[in-house]
């Protein structure tokens, strides 16, 4: 009798334990499901948030584009006032070259006696000042390559292509020029800088 009771009791306990196990499994499953659903919900919320964010970005971008367009308009107007094309690369390059040339002339100003090892003379400060004035003149569209000569003068050189060359000797009183375009040579001396500017323009035309 007792033995039967133990057996029944064991069966009951086994059954009870299995029920507990099933219940645990269900609980875990439910817990996982709830957590999955929660994360799904969060994702849905995130998606809504993302859409909202994208709408904000779009709005910001629209404002940015409007602002960039306005800047461009202002930029264009500014250049129109100065008769300069906005995308004229040459003008920008020449402005940069002007800066470099002014720096180069400041270095040439410092050259001491015998700077080339063959007894070259230092350059006259007034001549350097004149050269800065000439290369900064409004009418000059193209910057030269600048070299000191060994006897204390300054030489401007232009060579836009193999068969187009212009050389200028700058002195306090006059400009001596030598221009060669397709083997046609022109040379002479002038005191009028605008004559030189015409030669330079012709060289690049």
């Amino acid at each position: 009798m007792t033995q039967q009771l133990v057996i029944n009791s064991t069966k009951y306990i086994d059954a009870y334990e299995k029920r507990i196990e099933r219940l645990n499994a269900s609980t875990i499953y439910s817990s996982v499901s709830i957590s999955y659903l929660t994360s799904l919900n969060a994702n849905v919320q995130n998606t809504f948030d993302d859409i909202s964010f994208l709408r904000n970005v779009q709005s910001v971008l629209i404002n940015e584009v409007a602002s960039v367009n306005q800047d461009f308009e202002d930029f264009r107007k500014l250049f129109d006032e100065q008769s300069v094309t906005p995308f004229d690369k040459t003008k920008i390059e020449e402005a940069q070259k002007l800066k470099l040339n002014i720096y180069r002339l400041s270095e040439i100003r410092k050259l001491a006696d015998n700077w080339d090892g063959y007894n070259a003379k230092p350059l006259d400060t007034k001549l350097i000042d004149l050269c800065i004035e000439l290369i900064s003149s409004h009418e000059l569209d193209y910057q030269p390559d600048i070299y000191p000569t060994l006897d204390g003068n300054i030489q401007f050189e232009y060579e836009p292509s193999k068969d187009r060359y212009l050389e200028l000797q700058i002195s306090q009183h006059c400009f001596t020029f030598f221009q060669k375009i397709n083997r046609k040579v022109i040379k002479g001396t002038t005191t009028d800088w605008s004559n030189i500017v015409r030669l330079i323009d012709e060289l690049f035309s």
Partner: protein, 131 residues
């Protein structure tokens, strides 16, 4: 011990000139000397070999100028072809010294001849110019 070179400069004879590594003497874009180095109312100084070898002269230049100096060379015949006038001008310190003039009667070389000289010289060594 160096001996005086021949009085006349023969057409095949080479004339040499060193170029200090200065950006004011060199045309970067065209990688050749500027014609401004031939603008000298006192005459353009050059060296003859005399009894030196070319290697000796180059070694002298490295010592006299700087190791990173450039070296140009042109024959007297080429100078005459472009109608300039090479003249021997030996001095106490340099018996091999010579000059290139415009002509027999004019020292300063005319612009078109200077341009031709700058294009005709042989570049033996490019100056190592550092900004």
């Amino acid at each position: 011990m160096s001996s005086f070179p021949e009085k006349e400069i023969g057409n095949p004879e080479q004339l040499y000139r060193a170029i200090k590594p200065l950006k004011f003497l060199w045309n970067y874009k065209l990688n050749r000397p500027t014609s401004a180095i031939f603008h000298d109312k006192n005459g353009v100084s050059v060296d003859r070999l005399g009894d030196k070898s070319e290697d000796q002269l180059l070694a002298d230049y490295s010592q006299r100028f700087k190791e990173d100096s450039g070296v140009l060379r042109i024959t007297a015949g080429k100078c005459r072809e472009i109608q300039t006038h090479p003249v021997p001008k030996p001095s106490k310190s340099n018996v091999n010294h010579a000059e290139i003039h415009d002509s027999q009667s004019q020292v300063l070389i005319a612009s078109e001849k200077r341009d031709l000289l700058a294009r005709s010289v042989e570049i033996m060594k490019i100056p190592d110019i550092q900004d």
